[in-house]
Symmetry: C2
Subunit: 239 residues, 2 copies
């Protein structure tokens, strides 16, 4: 058994729902039936179904059963910011990443406050502009603690820094907090983005924590007003 049993059940159903093999409204087999079908226990089936529920694939009603929800109206991803890559992929449009800068320097007071470190601590700073359909509409400014991320390069910044950190460096990300607000655009925004004459810009601040609860990354993602969209999907928690 390479994969956890409950993940196997989860994957089979999430794939079938995504691909449209299971239509919205379809009633899933009961938990007991699923347990028998997968030769497992009901609690393991419930683990899979609860995952499907939390991710917005299905819907459970006590006494009635579990039913497939309509994902097509959910706009991917079900929750969270539509990232640059996802946005480009979804739109199927030409997109480019322009690395403006990749340097190591002392944090300085502003970044030090965000990362909760002394201002003289060394950090990696990566500034990237995101271009979609010929327009630079997102400015990503990433800051990493250099004592945790020892090396970065322009090549890495052009690809997925995220994959580099997780796969190459083996950093285990535990959780992240996002703060979204709208602020006056700066001179830098106008210089690096095609801002038209928008006076404001959407700022998404992202604080990323490792498994040992260390805050090691702060990202400021600055989006042109007219191209910003955020989706939030919330299950009702009864307590």
């Amino acid at each position: 058994m390479r994969e956890n049993k409950y993940l196997q059940i989860y994957n089979e159903y999430s794939n079938q729902i995504h691909s449209g093999q299971l239509l919205p409204g379809t009633k899933l087999p009961s938990e007991s039936e699923l347990a028998e079908a997968y030769t497992t226990s009901r609690e393991t089936v419930r683990k899979a179904l609860n995952l499907l529920f939390r991710e917005g694939y299905i819907h459970k009603i006590k006494g009635r059963g579990s039913f497939v929800l309509d994902m097509t109206r959910m706009d991917f991803p079900v929750t969270g910011l539509i990232s640059f890559k996802e946005m480009a992929d979804t739109l199927g449009t030409a997109s480019r990443t322009l690395v403006e800068r990749t340097i190591q320097e002392p944090a300085g007071s502003a970044i030090a406050r965000h990362l909760q470190i002394p201002p003289e601590t060394l950090i990696w700073k990566v500034v990237r502009a995101r271009e979609i359909e010929g327009e630079r509409i997102i400015l990503d400014k990433d800051y990493f603690r250099a004592d945790i991320v020892s090396f970065l390069s322009e090549e890495i910044a052009e690809g997925s820094i995220y994959e580099y950190l997780e796969l190459e460096l083996g950093l285990k990300i535990s959780y992240a907090k996002k703060l979204i607000s709208v602020e006056p655009s700066t001179e830098e925004d106008h210089r690096l983005l095609d801002l038209k004459n928008f006076t404001h810009i959407v700022v998404v601040r992202n604080y990323v924590y490792l498994e040992n609860t260390v805050l090691y990354q702060y990202t400021e993602s600055r989006h042109r007003l007219d191209k910003f969209q955020f989706v939030d999907f919330a299950r009702r928690v009864r307590r």
Copy 2:
């Protein structure tokens, strides 16, 4: 046993963490110890701990234990829009709700599209302006299917419509989807809000579904740019 055992454990710990009795970094007793202490099974303890984990109270590391996280840096609520009432409460400032309109009328094409109903369907429309510190900064436009919410009044609209629906009408809300974007402000925005000379406005569209997956409510919450803030807290899901 009035309350579920796992909720009891969850509540005791979430309260202690909130109140500061348990400081960040504190190691919780092991799952086996907790099971013994609460005279319950380990799986039940795990249910409580997983809730605490998902809500951002604690942090679990395989082989080491569970640890209290620093909630103070999380800004309440841990995830979601800072609602009008929470905002006012947190700021401890004077706030008012001004009900502009409470009427029943046919949906019309735009609202019909949002609610996925025929345009001639009757709906309740409630328009409210939210005033904080003497400034009207949020415009809430709620639309309810009249075949589900049979009656509304200005008195109800002045209080919490939400409580009326859940407690009085017994409507069971299952899930909701939010879409956040920034759009040009309308003439209505300027008429009903103190918009200064902002040309744009943050629009939060909220689609609310009942337990039977019926979309029964659509809310458009229009926030003045400079007063908008959204918090998103995400656990990393390993798969």
